[in-house]
């Protein structure tokens, strides 16, 4: 069976301008772990072959890694050099097992233990002792964040983790 060729002009080219053509091939993305050291961020950037942008805020540093197709992972680093929060904005949710590291088991148990009446599709909002994880978005545009409240530098609002 032969698939008839379709008029690809039907399809949108709107994304084209938002996509920087990659100069380097992307290997399997591996992210810094929540709670890990800042040194892992540099390893991640090398492994992702993404672009790394470092932004200094008043009481923390944001390490922002952008993969070739435009997915963004941010790692929020405390003055002590620890990743106290991560956030993402991507076509599809990045691997949270890698992103949450040692916190993934706690997160996973909280999701599976969430009581609910009947099935449904909704954002996740996990508020655990020592761990907050929230997901949002829809197909081709997922976002979310995870943080360890006790590790947030003093005077920083959790809302800035985006």
């Amino acid at each position: 069976m032969k698939i008839p060729l379709r008029n690809s002009a039907l399809r949108s080219k709107r994304w084209l301008f938002g996509l920087a053509l990659p100069l380097l091939a992307l290997s399997i993305p591996v992210f810094a772990e929540l709670g890990g050291d800042v040194t892992t961020v540099q390893n991640d950037q090398a492994r992702m072959k993404g672009t790394l942008k470092v932004t200094e805020a008043q009481a923390y540093t944001i390490h922002e890694i952008t993969s070739p197709e435009g997915s963004i992972v941010k790692e929020f680093v405390s003055p002590e050099g620890k990743v106290f929060a991560v956030s993402w904005k991507a076509h599809f949710t990045p691997d949270l097992q890698q992103l949450l590291g040692t916190y993934f088991t706690q997160f996973s148990q909280a999701v599976q233990g969430e009581e609910r009446t009947g099935p449904g599709r909704r954002p996740l909002n996990i508020q655990e002792p020592g761990l907050v994880v929230q997901t949002a978005g829809h197909m081709r545009s997922y976002s979310g964040r995870a943080y360890v409240p006790e590790m947030i530098p003093q005077g920083v609002r959790a809302e800035v983790i985006q």
Partner: protein, 431 residues
């Protein structure tokens, strides 16, 4: 990469198992010509109108609670170019995703999957609740309304195969929803504002490596994840929003009546195809919002914080029939003790938010109310499925107008890149 369709023995084997299931009294799809029993309705009366129903879906038949605030419909699929067709009831109508995805266990047709060399094209998509769907991409003719036909359209067959790669399943902790019990439906009809589930981010004409999340793989074995490798797929072979191949192809309008109480058993309406293409789909909405590059718009609401840390602004907001409630950040409203994912205010709480077009800055105020979800779900002995005041928490920058927003409104979703006569090019929402 060239992907071409040949008959897939893998899919046939899978479907043989499905026949066995149906023969043993499972909830099989209804063959065309056989009257469907209870459940969502069939096509509407006009050529471009499909009836939909917010009725709890199939979960009560599995002795589970009704699927709250979800619209279901019956989709007809056919082996391409033939009259061998099957009606699949209880398919979720979802403007938050793109493309048709059906449980392979419910399909009795013989379908061909897309292949590359000796490998089968497999699709892995995750959802916001960190569930995922895995299965081959197959071609079917999709028929909705009485006359809308999308010929040889790539859909996902949600399979139970054991070759799921780690990079598909890892982190998606809610798990593989490959059964009626876990999916809560026989499938998902994604009719949102994009033509396909990945777009240029997966298309070798635009990128050289698959995007984060790896939505597509080629697998040479249905039992070995090691036989799978992530792949790029041109847009025309991605799982496709069938509406773009209909005669009325620029978008959809979901029409649901207003509710008369906070908890009801059933609400019936229409999924209308096309915008300004027929006399019955003229754009009369006075509120029209173009979307940003992520298919979001802006909602101004006091407890939001934007991605640029602007208080009062949710800049990653959207309208989504597939979300079963209003979801927004509001730490002033307590979460429920029983249904912890939902809000449980002590009394009915009236709120309002301001929707804003990210490009034109046009605004419109929307009033809505939130009530105690534990009480709502318990009303009428837990048999209700329509809740106009159901809500829950969302991330700081995201306001999700889920299905309750559609009650009493005709909500228009125009597809990216499609021309809407006398209006312009999608994507946009209007109501």
């Amino acid at each position: 990469m060239k992907i071409r369709g040949i008959r897939s023995f893998f899919v046939i084997a899978l479907l043989a198992a499905a026949v066995f299931t149906v023969g043993c009294g499972g909830n099989g799809g209804t063959p065309v010509g056989v009257t469907s029993g209870a459940g969502s309705g069939g096509g509407g009366t006009a050529a471009n109108v499909q009836s939909i129903s917010v009725n709890g879906g199939l979960t009560p038949s599995l002795n589970e609670a009704p699927y709250a605030d979800a619209a279901f419909t019956t989709v007809t699929i056919c082996e391409p170019g033939t009259a061998n067709c099957q009606k699949i009831p209880n398919v979720l109508v979802d403007t938050g995703s793109y493309g048709l995805r059906l449980l392979a266990s419910q399909i009795t047709l013989s379908l061909s999957s897309l292949t590359s060399g000796s490998g089968t094209l497999m699709n892995c998509v995750s959802f916001v609740d960190l569930s995922y769907l895995w299965g081959p991409v197959a071609l079917v003719d999709v028929k909705l309304g009485t006359q809308e036909v999308a010929s040889s359209t790539p859909i996902q067959l949600i399979s139970s195969d054991t070759n799921v790669p780690t990079s598909c399943s890892s982190g998606n902790t809610t798990g593989d929803e490959d059964t009626q019990a876990t999916l809560g439906a026989n499938g998902i009809l994604g009719v949102g504002p994009e033509p396909d589930d990945c777009g240029p981010a997966c298309d070798p004409n635009f990128v050289t490596t698959p995007p984060t999340g790896d939505p597509y793989y080629v697998c040479t074995s249905s039992t070995s994840s090691a036989s799978c490798s992530a792949t790029l797929v041109s847009q025309m072979n991605q799982v496709t929003n069938p509406v773009i191949y209909f005669a009325d192809n620029d978008g959809v309008i979901i029409e649901l009546p207003a509710t008369t109480s906070e908890a009801e058993a059933r609400l019936t309406g229409s999924l209308v195809f096309g915008i300004n293409t027929q006399s019955n789909n003229q754009l009369t909405a006075s509120n029209l919002f173009s979307l940003d590059q992520f298919d979001n718009f802006t909602v101004n609401f006091s407890t939001c914080t934007s991605s640029l840390n602007v208080f009062g602004v949710c800049d990653a907001s959207y309208i989504d029939s597939g979300s079963n409630g209003y979801f927004f950040p509001d730490s002033n409203i307590p979460n429920c003790a029983d249904n912890t994912a939902f809000f449980c205010p002590t009394s009915l709480t009236a709120l309002s938010a301001l929707n804003e077009d990210p490009n034109t800055m046009f605004t419109n105020t929307v009033s809505f109310s939130i009530d105690n979800a534990d009480n709502l779900f318990a009303s009428d002995n837990g048999t209700d499925a329509v809740f106009s005041t159901l809500g829950g928490t969302n991330s700081a920058d995201s306001f999700d107008w889920g299905l309750p927003f559609f009650f009493g409104r005709n909500v228009v979703t125009a597809i990216d890149g499609q021309t809407v006569p006398n209006v312009g090019t999608g994507p946009f929402w209007a109501y």
